[in-house]
């Protein structure tokens, strides 16, 4: 049995071993049982033969006994003989039946038994008859029967039969005995062989066990031993049973162990580093306080090297005098209790400076429970001390700040009425005029009965939401607290608390109200004044409009008669010429003709000449007035106007005059404006025309048209300022305002005109919400400035004429009237 070749597990191997043994024993036991049964059967058969023999002998004996008794009775007549005979007669049939019963189903014995029973019956029958004869007194007949020897023959027959039967049975019995004897011998042999075989099997099994299991366990044990001692391992066990698996598991374990060992080394290094470089100090002291370990952090804190401290210094050496006293007391406490927490010590650095630390310590005890060493952590308290100082500082500030501060705690988060006073600063009492410290623990409505529901809800809300709330003007008043307005800031604090900081703003509020009142008064006055101004403006605008309408209709009405004056004076002239022609004819008297001609050609034509001149002059004035009124009335088409092109067109149109007067015209870059193209052409045409007209004699005229970047301070954002500059006659200062008025002319002697041009310019610029003004010096020249709204402004939105000294602006260009 080669277990590792069969690839069986140990369980399977064990089962196989047991099965083999059991099978063997089963066969053996079966064999024995069978032999035993055979033996028993043989013995039973032998016994049966013996019983049958006994039965047959008993039948024969009783029959003989009865025969003998009969003879005796017949011979002697003594009743003592009749007894055994009767007995026999009585017993025999039962015995025969018994014998028959015993051989029922045994065909080999039926025949002999039947013969025995027949013989016995015949003999019994003879006896019965004979006995009846003898008892009936027929002794002779009975004796005769006896003498006939019939009785004897019948008994002999029976005897013969019984004897044959016994012979047969005896030989059968002997044969069976022999067989039993053989059986017993065989059994003995079997037992002997069985025992030997069993021993042999056990031996084989033991061998198999050793090879399949025990030897492998040995190899395994060896390997484990090698593992323990770290020796080289032998080859892995073959097969796939548990032992092989255990072997493999051990090997894997060995590999992992190797890894773990190296990891353990790394881990130890890391642990050491953690110890050394931890952000807190570590040290250990022995029972008399000598330092036996200290990490690098603590060494760094204190400024010592490890070899200066370990085993050389005691912890008290590193403490200030106060801390040393504390230490003596607390060290013994540590030894008793096993640990101390949050001890505050001041340590002395190597350089003598003091370092506050927080110290926690536990005890390491030896097996006997005695103090062996301490394990102590230390935290740098410098920062904390600073923070504590800051907190104290803040506390002091809160105590002395002029702002009231009350802290409330909301006991039940859902019920604002459970706000209870936790603490208040002195300023709170000072500001409110009551000792707030007496209200500690009171609900808010009890402490301040005048507090509003809304205010309470607000404070509770701060706790619930965690959000800061500010109430700008809280009015508070009760029996003890004077009415005042408060600025309140409520801010959330830990532990369901809300801080309420408050400041008295009554004075401020009063001042603000004063300012507000003054402001509104001012606003009212301003709006009144503005309304007045607007009214005045509207009046002015209306008057302007009425004026223009008046001028327009008057001009018109004047024009009609002028047409007549002019027309009929021409007609008169024609008539005069006709008259003169008539008078020239020779038909007239010479005296009359001369006088008439003198009148017609002299006074009449001279008068007509004056009339015509006056009419033309009047017509000119009326035209000017109409133009002016039209400048005020014509509807504007607002658009972005390209000023470069507009001015270029104007200069081109005036080119004839420019060349005639040898003038130089310079044009700068002109940004566009928002306005009416035609009206603006009129403005700049007029200004350029004026510049070309009023020249200083003997000076080469130079005209500049440009854009001024220096906006006058009063002009609004979005306004563009243009100028037209000449080096001509200039305008005397006294005249500078007047020239923008109608019919006002600075230099009537220089050129013809109605004095209407600049009035129209002013009117147009005004309607553009702009402004025109002049800077001039007599003999040097004039500069006309025009401010106009830039392109990005819709009409009327920007006022470029504010504070201007020309004319008032007029808003709302909507009216227009026509008439003939």
């Amino acid at each position: 049995m080669r277990g590792h070749d069969l690839n069986l597990s140990i369980r399977s191997k064990g089962l196989v071993l047991i099965a083999v043994v059991m099978l063997f024993q089963l066969v053996f036991i079966g064999l024995i049982a069978w032999m035993q049964a055979d033996y028993a059967r043989s013995e039973q058969l032998s016994n049966q033969s013996r019983q049958l023999i006994g039965s047959a002998e008993s039948i024969l004996r009783q029959t003989v006994d009865a025969q003998n008794g009969m003879r005796g009775f017949i011979i002697s007549g003594g009743p003592e003989f009749i007894g055994p005979m009767d007995q026999a007669v009585q017993n025999i049939p039962g015995e025969i039946a018994q014998l028959r019963d015993r051989v029922r189903g045994d065909p080999g014995r039926n025949e002999p038994v039947r013969r025995i029973s027949d013989a016995a019956d015949s003999s019994l029958q003879w006896l019965t008859e004979t006995s009846r004869l003898a008892r009936g007194g027929a002794n002779e007949m009975a004796a005769a029967r006896v003498k006939s020897g019939e009785g004897m023959r019948l008994v002999d027959q029976l005897r013969n039969d019984v004897s044959n039967f016994i012979d047969v049975e005896t030989s059968r019995h002997e044969e069976l005995d022999n067989k039993v004897k053989r059986n017993r011998q065989g059994l003995n042999w079997l037992l002997a062989i069985g025992g030997l075989t069993s021993m042999a099997t056990t031996g084989v099994l033991a061998l198999a066990f050793w090879r399949g299991i025990s030897a492998r366990f040995d190899a395994l044990t060896l390997n484990i031993g090698s593992l323990q001692s770290g020796k080289e391992l032998s080859a892995p066990l073959a097969g796939n049973d548990e032992i092989a698996r255990v072997d493999r598991a051990f090997r894997q374990m060995a590999t992992e162990l190797a890894h773990t060992a190296s990891a353990l080394g790394e881990s130890a290094r890391q642990t050491r580093e953690l110890y050394d470089e931890a952000p807190c100090g570590y040290h250990s002291i022995d029972a008399d306080g000598t330092l036996i370990a200290m990490n690098r952090t603590e060494l760094r804190w204190l400024g010592y090297r490890e070899d200066e401290v370990i085993g050389k210094m005691k912890l008290p050496d590193l403490l200030t005098a106060d801390s040393r006293n504390q230490f003596q007391e607390q060290f013994s406490l540590l030894k008793q209790q096993g640990q101390v927490n949050d001890l505050e010590y001041d340590m002395i650095r190597k350089d003598g400076s003091v370092m506050p630390v927080l110290l926690n310590s536990t005890v390491v005890r030896d097996a006997a429970g005695n103090f062996s060493s301490s394990r102590t952590t230390l935290f740098d308290r410098t920062q904390r001390k600073r923070a504590e100082a800051t907190i104290r500082l803040f506390g002091d500030i809160v105590k002395s700040a002029p702002i009231g501060l009350i802290i409330w705690r909301l006991e039940d988060l859902t019920n604002p009425r459970t706000l209870r006073l936790v603490i208040a600063n002195p300023a709170a009492s000072a500001l409110l005029g009551v000792d707030v410290s007496k209200f500690l623990g009171l609900p808010i409505t009890a402490a301040f009965p005048g507090v509003s529901e809304a205010e309470v809800t607000t404070y509770a809300g701060v706790v619930q939401s965690g959000k800061v709330r500010e109430l700008s003007e809280v009015h508070y008043q009760d029996e003890r607290v004077a009415p005042n307005y408060w600025f309140v800031r409520a801010f959330p604090l830990p532990d369901q608390c809300v801080g309420v900081a408050f400041e008295n703003v009554t004075e401020r509020k009063r001042a603000e109200e004063q300012i507000r009142r003054l402001n509104s008064e001012l606003e009212r006055r301003v709006s009144e004044r503005t309304a007045e101004l607007a009214d005045a403006n509207r009046d002015l605008s209306q008057k302007n409009q009425e004026n223009e309408m008046f001028v327009y209709s008057v001009s018109h009405d004047l024009r009609s008669p002028l047409v007549n004056l002019q027309g009929f004076s021409i007609e008169l002239e024609k008539s005069c010429q006709g008259l003169a022609g008539l008078f020239n004819e020779q038909s007239q008297l010479e005296v009359v003709r001369d006088k008439a001609l003198a009148i017609v050609n002299g006074r009449m034509s001279k008068s007509l000449g004056f009339i015509k001149a006056a009419v033309l002059r009047l017509s000119g004035i009326i035209d000017a007035l109409l133009r002016l009124s039209r400048a005020g009335r014509v509807e504007y088409r607002w658009q972005d106007v390209d000023m470069n092109r507009l001015v270029a067109n104007i200069v081109n149109a005036a080119q004839g005059t420019i060349q005639e007067k040898s003038a130089t015209v310079k044009i700068g870059d002109l940004p566009p404006v928002s306005g009416d193209q035609t009206a603006l052409e009129q403005v700049f045409g007029n200004l350029v025309g004026n510049a070309l007209n009023y020249l200083e004699p003997g000076r080469v005229p130079i005209i500049e048209i440009g854009h001024s970047r220096d906006r006058p301070p009063e002009a609004a954002d979005g306004c563009e300022v243009y100028f037209v500059r000449d080096n001509g006659l200039g305008v005397a200062e006294a005249y500078q305002q007047k020239i923008f008025q109608v019919f006002q002319r600075a230099h009537p002697e220089v050129s013809k005109g109605e004095g209407i041009g600049l009035a129209i310019v002013a009117r147009i610029v005004e309607r553009h919400h702009g402004r025109v003004w002049i800077e001039s010096k007599v003999g040097q020249g004039s500069t006309f400035f025009v401010s106009l709204p830039g392109c990005n402004n819709a009409s009327g939105q920007v006022d470029c004429g504010r504070l201007g000294n020309s004319t008032t602006t007029e808003r709302g260009e909507t009216w227009s009237r026509t008439s003939s």
């Binding site: 018109h556 024009r559 009609s560 008669p561 002028l562 047409v563 007549n564 002019q566 027309g567 009929f568 004076s569 021409i570 007609e571 009419v615 033309l616 017509s619 109409l626 039209r630 014509v634 509807e635 227009s816 026509t818 008439s819 003939s820």
Partner: protein, 149 residues
């Protein structure tokens, strides 16, 4: 040259102007009958053959010379009414006025006037204007009043 049957109706409140226009038209060779009325209402009455003119039988082509500034009904109103009346919308209307306001001019053209002539103070110009008016009258195609009555 000028169709003789054409009647020129001149509405002009100023006698002098009427005289001057008449004289100058004649000087320009316009021989047509010129009927003068003194205001817009009379002009409308004439055209519609009503009021003082109810006896008039419209029987030939008619042309209107309208001053604007007149008592009662002004020229622009006459123009408006006639152009809104299908019976008389075809009658040519020439505005003759002292105003040279471009908006007034445009308004009259918008209402449907055939021509617009300003009366300049300068007599030479006036004569020239009337001459051109005569030229216009000589070429204008005027429908007969009774043609569509």
């Amino acid at each position: 040259m000028v169709k003789n049957e054409l009647v020129v109706l001149m509405a002009e409140d100023d006698d002098g102007h009427a005289c001057l226009v008449q004289q100058n038209l004649q000087d320009a060779g316009i021989a047509n009958e010129i009927v003068r009325v003194r205001d817009g209402q009379e002009a409308l009455d004439y055209v519609r053959a009503q009021g003082p003119f109810r006896t008039r039988v419209p029987n030939g082509p008619l042309l209107l010379l309208l001053d604007i500034n007149m008592p009662r009904v002004d020229g622009v109103e006459v123009l408006r009414q006639l152009k809104n009346d299908p019976t008389h919308a075809q009658i040519p209307v020439i505005m003759l006025t002292t105003t040279d306001d471009p908006r007034e001019v445009r308004r009259c053209y918008d209402l449907g006037c055939s021509s617009y002539v300003t009366k300049p103070v300068d007599y030479a110009k006036f004569v020239e204007a009337i001459r051109r008016l005569g030229l216009f009258l000589s070429i204008v195609e005027v429908p007969r009043e009774d043609a569509k009555a």
